[in-house]
């Protein structure tokens, strides 16, 4: 036919040539993208949908599955333990996120470019971030152990034995938070200290000449300029802190009682100790919805305090 373009023509118009290259690229794109599209489809998209499906079933690891509709979600809402688990997770988040941000922001401001050996601090603080979380937890089990470093220092200096941090419901969550801040703040420290390096030195000097002291310079010059980094760091820290698992699993196994059981620990227990995969999937989706909600709130709220140039 006349409109058939497959026949080679001696004078190829520019648009036609672009058109052919687009088609060529598409074939290559299929090859280049194939592995990751297939992998993401099989190992991320499909499981995400399956998580939703499984949450609607009574789904034991072995045996018959029955459709229960929203039954699993109703059971979670009515379960006092699940309610406590959500509260525990929120308590962890409320303690951990501000502490992490304040410590990392404060230290990043303190360890300014003027400080000698700055890279040593960066390396030191980053080691626990990169170390296997299980190894970190082992170290802190030793720290918190009666007779461990904290206890023996307290006994030698004050003559008082410390409470058994991990065995008392009053201190267990706090102990987990302290360990988590120690392990995690190096990440935000690096984010903040990189952001502070971008603050123009002239502006800080100008503020100093105008008589602003260190705290004022930080509050009125540095802080407004690094709000995008603070937004990035708080959002990421918030998201990951809702997913806390290894610390309570390894330090307290959720105890004493259920005092430190968190959402992911609940998912693990339901799924792999009690073999209720449907209920575990539902709890996982509750976590997902909470995380999405928090992220949405963060993004909606950022207009008020985040300044992009």
């Amino acid at each position: 036919m006349a409109i058939d373009t497959s026949a080679p023509s001696p004078t190829v118009s520019p648009t036609l040539r672009v058109g052919r290259r687009l088609r060529d690229d598409r074939r290559y794109a299929l090859i280049f993208l194939g592995p990751s599209v297939l992998g993401l489809a099989l190992f991320t998209l499909f499981p995400t949908v399956m998580a939703l499906v499984m949450s609607l079933f009574n789904w034991p690891v072995f045996g018959n599955r029955t459709f229960v509709g929203l039954g699993n979600y109703a059971r979670l809402l009515g379960d006092p333990i699940f309610r406590q688990v959500v509260l525990n997770t929120c308590l962890f988040v409320v303690l951990y996120v501000p502490l992490n941000v304040v410590v990392s922001l404060g230290l990043a401001a303190w360890v300014s470019p003027k400080i000698k050996g700055r890279s040593v601090f960066r390396i030191l603080f980053f080691i626990p971030v990169m170390a296997p979380i299980v190894a970190n937890a082992m170290v802190w089990r030793l720290m918190y152990q009666p007779g461990g470093l904290l206890d023996s220092v307290s006994q030698s200096v004050f003559g008082v034995a410390t409470p058994s941090f991990l065995a008392s419901s009053a201190t267990a969550m706090l102990a987990i938070v302290v360990m988590s801040v120690w392990q995690g703040f190096g990440y935000n420290f690096l984010v903040f200290s990189t952001a502070m390096d971008q603050v123009p030195q002239e502006q800080l000097e100008a503020a100093a000449i105008d008589g602003a002291n260190g705290i004022q310079r930080f509050r009125y010059v540095t802080l407004p300029m690094i709000t995008p980094s603070i937004f990035f760091a708080t959002t990421l820290t918030l998201i990951t802190s809702f997913q806390v698992f290894a610390q309570p699993f390894l330090l307290t196994t959720g105890g004493p009682g259920n005092a430190t059981q968190t959402l992911v620990l609940f998912v693990y227990n339901e799924g792999w100790r009690f073999l209720h995969m449907g209920l575990a999937a539902a709890a996982g989706w509750v976590l997902f919805v909470i995380i999405m909600g928090i992220t949405a709130i963060q993004f909606l709220g950022q207009k008020r305090w985040v300044h992009y140039d």
Partner: protein
């Protein structure tokens, strides 16, 4: 006149001396903070060389009465740490290879190939980053059961080797490669594969190294997924699983446990020191953070 000048000079000098003193105090306090922060690690390191009966001494000691290097050998005798380390290395190295191969291919497509729906697909890619691992583990375990992969190496490697993080990181880097370079290669008749292997990959060595190291560390430290999918810890277990099972069985051998923990940290410490300048770029690579 001269009086005013000397006065001003003296004042400036005083301010400098004040600043100098403040700087000394600031450095001193910072060293104290650093020591406080490092104390758990130093204490654990010291404990790993102590005889068992000196772990809980009062007052606490950093170094025991003797340095028992044998602790590190004993740890391997008490538990199959050799197997754990072999498994971890195998999984981390293979996993890293898969991640780097797959994500560099797709990053090239997003950065340099033109096809309809590219932007939409990229947004979809980034969207998968929102789904937390904890939502995926339940159906992923069922998938492993269905495939017959429970308690296997491929179950440790493949499920989390397809992440959009690497694609995103490398795409950003590929975009910085000058377009003229690619265009002139095209004019010379080079196809996408030639451009990818001959131009993009050699120019991106730094980014590839950063991605590899962070991916390696993520596999090395991974805990929740191996805990779920591995049944025979002494055969297929990774180092974190081995540490956990060692703690459950030999919970009182603190010096050996610290020795094993210190060994587990070695790759992390080495990579942090190697990465130094590139740590910041790596921050984007993986979902590190609060964990």
């Amino acid at each position: 006149m001269t009086d005013a000048l000397t006065l001003a000079r003296r004042r400036a000098a005083g301010r400098r001396r004040g600043a100098g003193l403040r700087s000394v105090i600031s450095h001193f306090l910072l060293v104290a903070v650093a020591l406080l922060f490092a104390a758990p690690l130093l204490y654990a390191l010291g404990t790993s060389f102590k005889p068992s009966d000196e772990v809980f001494t009062r007052p606490p000691t950093l170094v025991g009465s003797e340095l028992r290097f044998e602790n590190y050998i004993d740890a391997f005798r008490f538990a199959p740490f050799g197997q754990y380390f072999f498994n971890s290395l195998l999984v981390a190295i293979t996993g890293t290879a898969v991640v780097v191969a797959v994500s560099s291919l797709s990053a090239f497509a997003f950065a340099r190939l033109r096809f309809r729906g590219r932007e939409l697909l990229f947004v979809l890619f980034l969207g998968t980053l929102m789904v937390p691992q904890e939502v995926l583990i339940v159906p992923m375990y069922w998938l492993m059961q269905t495939l017959g992969w429970v308690d296997s190496y491929q179950a440790l490697i493949l499920p989390f080797a397809f992440t959009a993080f690497g694609t995103f990181l490398l795409r950003q880097f590929f975009l910085t490669v000058p377009a003229e370079l690619v265009d002139s290669a095209r004019v010379d008749g080079a196809g996408p594969f030639t451009i990818f292997f001959r131009i993009m990959l050699p120019l991106s060595r730094a980014a590839l190294a950063v991605l590899s190291m962070f991916t390696f560390i993520a596999f090395w430290g991974s805990f929740l997924w191996p805990l779920i999918v591995i049944d025979t810890i002494d055969v297929k277990g990774t180092v974190p699983l081995g540490l956990t099972s060692f703690m459950a069985q030999q919970g009182t051998e603190w010096n050996l446990m610290m020795a094993a923990s210190m060994l587990a940290m070695v790759p992390s410490v080495v990579l942090v020191v190697l990465l130094q300048k590139n740590l910041v770029r790596g921050l984007l690579t993986t979902g590190f953070g609060g964990r």
